[in-house]
């Protein structure tokens, strides 16, 4: 099998390694509280995006509308995300991905293991199905990084 956590930890960027450590250090219930803290830390969108709703990618169905925007500045990745206040779990996921990728080089960000969300101890706390939402978020972020760094 592939993707075991220990072999990846060497390559894992510091911020993401620290986030993982913080979650795994807690009991299952407290992990939800930490996720809530991440949710509360998600910054407002910069005005240059907030004023441009045309940049938002509309999601058709009734699930949480989460939007991510990658900027690459001087070869470094910055991720901005927005999700409604009524979707704190999604906000928490977005906040972890945004904080974990911020300031990484393109190569470092693209090297983040795709299964990182499954390794931070949230599967038991929020259910496997939900954690796949964060996996998708990370995947989309990496896709944007790829597209924008190629441009």
């Amino acid at each position: 099998m592939t993707g075991s956590a220990p072999s990846e930890s060497a390559a894992l960027p510091e911020a993401l390694a620290e986030i993982r450590h913080d979650f795994l250090d807690l009991g299952v219930k407290d992990r939800l509280q930490l996720l809530l803290e991440f949710s509360n830390e998600l910054p407002e969108l910069p005005a240059r995006y907030a004023d441009h709703p045309d940049l938002l990618e509309q999601v058709v169905e009734c699930q949480s509308p989460v939007f991510i925007f990658v900027e690459i500045d001087d070869g470094l990745v910055h991720l901005y995300a927005t999700a409604p206040r009524e979707s704190p779990t999604t906000r928490g996921f977005a906040s972890i991905v945004a904080q974990g990728l911020d300031g990484l080089t393109v190569d470092e960000a693209l090297g983040v293991p795709d299964d990182y969300p499954q390794t931070i101890g949230l599967v038991e706390a929020v259910s496997p199905l939900r954690i796949r939402g964060m996996t998708a978020l990370l995947g989309r972020a990496k896709r944007q990084i790829r597209e924008k760094s190629a441009a």
């Binding site: 939800l32 809530l36 009524e86 979707s87 199905l129 939402g133 998708a136």
Partner: protein
């Protein structure tokens, strides 16, 4: 029924008006003896950012589903959940949640499987309560553990399995997913890429009525005449029909089950909770693609 029903005129036209309460009614009855308010959301953290005073949390994933087998929790575990939340068999339970009560209806449906007699939905759910400025609290409720004998779960009345669907052809099926999932252009809802199946499309002869059509803009249920226009005129359901509803994993279709059974009065409505994630991956079950329902295959013998 421990607590009086909500006499709102809006509800009187529905088949089972005792299954709904209004925000006004709930505000007046909060704290009544014999009443427990339950919050069940899509978002596992929403309760923690504020909830109706005294409400307990019940999570549809982590509490109601068995952690290993794809099924609901055992009767023993259900009884334990009820005790922990201060619910006994004669408690009036009012469920509310986010996203037009999608998961609240799912919780209510699971309560029904376990035979809990008095369980109601808050019309309009969490969003309406908030829009009316009624307020939320961060305080944990003071719950006194209750007695709840281990119930018998009866899957035969409101739940359909794959073989039931194969034997059902010729009777109405309602697919409550998005048109894109129904016609086969995608196997998942747009933001749920992992809830997929190996094949896209729909169960042949199923009519597509996305679940959200039953809700008005403020999240409350539409009046009966509008529901009739959607499900009778639009999807061809007729009184006396035996109906099976499905979606992707069975939660959205429990909302439609609530509408068809409790609001419109269809007596025989089942929710196929295996839904598309099972059907679209099962070997040799018939599938139709495109926007038309397609012909019903010959029903399997029972």
């Amino acid at each position: 029924m421990t607590v009086d029903r909500d006499p709102s005129p809006k509800f009187s036209e529905y088949a089972h008006p005792e299954r709904l309460v209004s925000t006004d009614w709930l505000a007046e009855h909060l704290g009544d003896e014999g009443l427990v308010v339950v919050e069940s959301d899509e978002d596992v953290l929403l309760y923690e950012v504020g909830h109706i005073e005294g409400a307990v949390k019940l999570d549809w994933h982590t509490d109601l589903n068995d952690p290993v087998q794809r099924d609901y929790v055992s009767p023993e575990r259900f009884a334990e959940l009820m005790r922990e939340r201060g619910i006994s068999p004669d408690t009036t339970v009012v469920v509310y949640g986010d996203k037009n009560n999608w998961w609240a209806a799912y919780a209510l449906w699971v309560f029904t499987l376990f035979g809990h007699s008095d369980v109601r939905l808050l019309d309009g759910g969490r969003a309406k309560w908030e829009a009316e400025g009624r307020g939320f609290t961060l305080d944990a409720p003071d719950v006194a553990t209750a007695e709840y004998p281990v119930p018998v779960r009866d899957d035969s009345v409101v739940r359909a399995f794959r073989d039931d669907v194969l034997a059902h052809f010729g009777s109405p099926l309602i697919d409550v997913r998005s048109p894109e999932e129904y016609d086969g252009s995608r196997t998942t809802a747009p933001a749920y890429p992992e809830e997929g199946a190996l094949r896209a499309g729909h169960i042949p002869s199923a009519k597509n009525v996305p679940w959200g059509k039953a809700a008005a803009d403020d999240g409350t249920f539409r009046p009966l005449a509008e529901l009739d226009a959607i499900y009778r005129d639009g999807a061809g359901l007729a009184s006396g029909d035996d109906v099976i509803a499905y979606c992707r994993i069975g939660e959205r279709s429990s909302h439609t089950w609530f509408v068809l059974h409790h609001l419109m009065g269809f007596e025989n409505v089942r929710n196929y909770d295996g839904s598309w994630t099972e059907w679209g991956s099962a070997v040799r079950v018939p599938i139709a693609t495109g926007s038309e329902p397609g012909e019903a295959p010959v029903a399997a013998a029972r």
